[in-house]
């Protein structure tokens, strides 16, 4: 990363205490802000958007169900057996098959955007499908999610 990028990231919200708990996308710090004649640029105009989930979106799960190996995604009851046997999940905590299926079922697009770059770590070993008590076939669903996350 060059220094330009670093400076850009540092300038955003650098006065927030415990800044590392707040994701960059949630910080709005306008360069110039004029509120009724009062100059509120820079630090005074900083807003941190809430991380509250506002709505559910079921269009994503309809797309996953259309792909041939993702058709059983609705069976998942979030037990976590797939993650417990997944060898990738033990090395990379952001790769969590159970969680991916959950955010797609509930349609939390903000979470999907955060985890886009981790979803393609799936090795296709099939241990998750072996462990799943509901026969969701998570390794097949992961293939469908790889395709879906690329589009979101």
């Amino acid at each position: 990363m060059t220094e330009n990028n670093n400076e850009k990231e540092e300038r955003k919200g650098k006065y927030i205490i415990e800044r590392e708990y707040v994701e960059d996308e949630r910080i709005i710090e306008p360069e110039k802000l004029d509120i009724g004649g009062v100059d509120a640029s820079g630090r005074w105009g900083l807003i941190v958007l809430p991380r509250v989930i506002k709505d559910f979106d079921h269009s994503l799960i309809d797309e996953v169900k259309k792909l041939p190996r993702g058709k059983h995604i609705e069976r998942c009851w979030q037990c976590g057996l797939c993650t417990s046997v997944c060898p990738v999940a033990h090395k990379e905590p952001n790769f969590n098959p159970r969680y991916f299926i959950y955010i797609v079922k509930m349609g939390y697009k903000s979470e999907i955007k955060k985890l886009k770059k981790y979803v393609y770590l799936c090795q296709g070993c099939g241990l998750c499908s072996e462990a799943c008590p509901k026969h969701v076939d998570p390794s097949g669903v992961m293939m469908a999610l790889n395709i879906l996350f690329d589009k979101v």
């Binding site: 060898p87 090395k91 393609y120 090795q123 070993c125 099939g126 072996e130 799943c132 395709i147 690329d150």
Partner: protein, 231 residues
């Protein structure tokens, strides 16, 4: 395979089926609604002027070797040696077969049987054996473990069996050629063609089609990251 027209037929057969195969893959990727990573890859490689061509190529080859050829993203993390070796044998076997067929066609277009002890023969046999053993290992793994057997998609098992069939038929065909049995080899030639066409038509529609898309996507992404880091 001793006459010239037959080898021309073999060449055209492969070319036509390859084109059909690519069309099937493109239609499948279009139905998914995602971008075509090959197109993007070529565009990034040749049109972006900010980086030198050699460094772009270096980035791609780096990803190719690290992630795909050494299987870091294709099975190394799965911690199961049987699966890893099966995968490795399958990938190297299949890649080797493609390369050896091209080399054999260039060096020996008419198809004179070279005999068992010719180095090209030995290497070709080796790669066919890799493919046969690798695909059989993967198939066996899914057959033996009862829970895995119950939850495996039947198309995946069909894929492994098709690759195994292709490898076995290839070995038989080349062996019949090298043993000098013209009647048997002409029958096995057509069975071999059936194996090839099965693969050409089935692989784009199976898991392999998805993996090809994923591999090209990874290469494109690595190139994009390389670009971003030098901005």
């Amino acid at each position: 395979m001793n006459d010239f027209p037959l080898s021309i037929f073999y060449f055209l057969f492969n070319v036509i089926l390859f084109i059909l195969s690519t069309i099937l893959l493109i239609i499948r990727i279009k139905r998914w609604g995602v971008s075509y990573p090959f197109v993007k890859l070529v565009k990034e490689l040749f049109k972006e002027k900010r980086l030198k061509f050699s460094s772009k190529l270096k980035a791609i080859i780096n990803t190719l070797i690290k992630d795909l050829l050494s299987l870091k993203r294709a099975g190394y993390l799965c911690e199961e040696n049987f699966h890893l070796y099966g995968r490795a044998l399958l990938i190297y076997g299949f890649g080797g077969i493609v390369i050896m067929n091209l080399i054999n066609f260039i060096l020996n277009p008419i198809g004179v049987p070279l005999g068992y002890l010719h180095p090209l023969s030995i290497i070709t046999y080796l790669f066919y054996a890799f493919l046969a053993i690798g695909s059989f290992m993967l198939f066996l793994r899914r057959l033996i473990r009862s829970n895995l057997r119950k939850t495996t998609d039947p198309l995946v098992l069909l894929l492994h069996l098709s690759l195994f069939y292709f490898a076995v038929v290839g070995i038989s065909f080349y062996s019949s050629l090298n043993s000098g049995l013209p009647f048997l080899s002409s029958i096995l030639f057509y069975i071999y063609l059936s194996g090839i066409s099965l693969l050409y038509l089935f692989l784009p529609l199976s898991e392999v089609g998805y993996y090809i898309w994923k591999a090209s996507m990874l290469l494109t992404k690595s190139l994009l990251i390389e670009h971003k880091s030098t901005e």
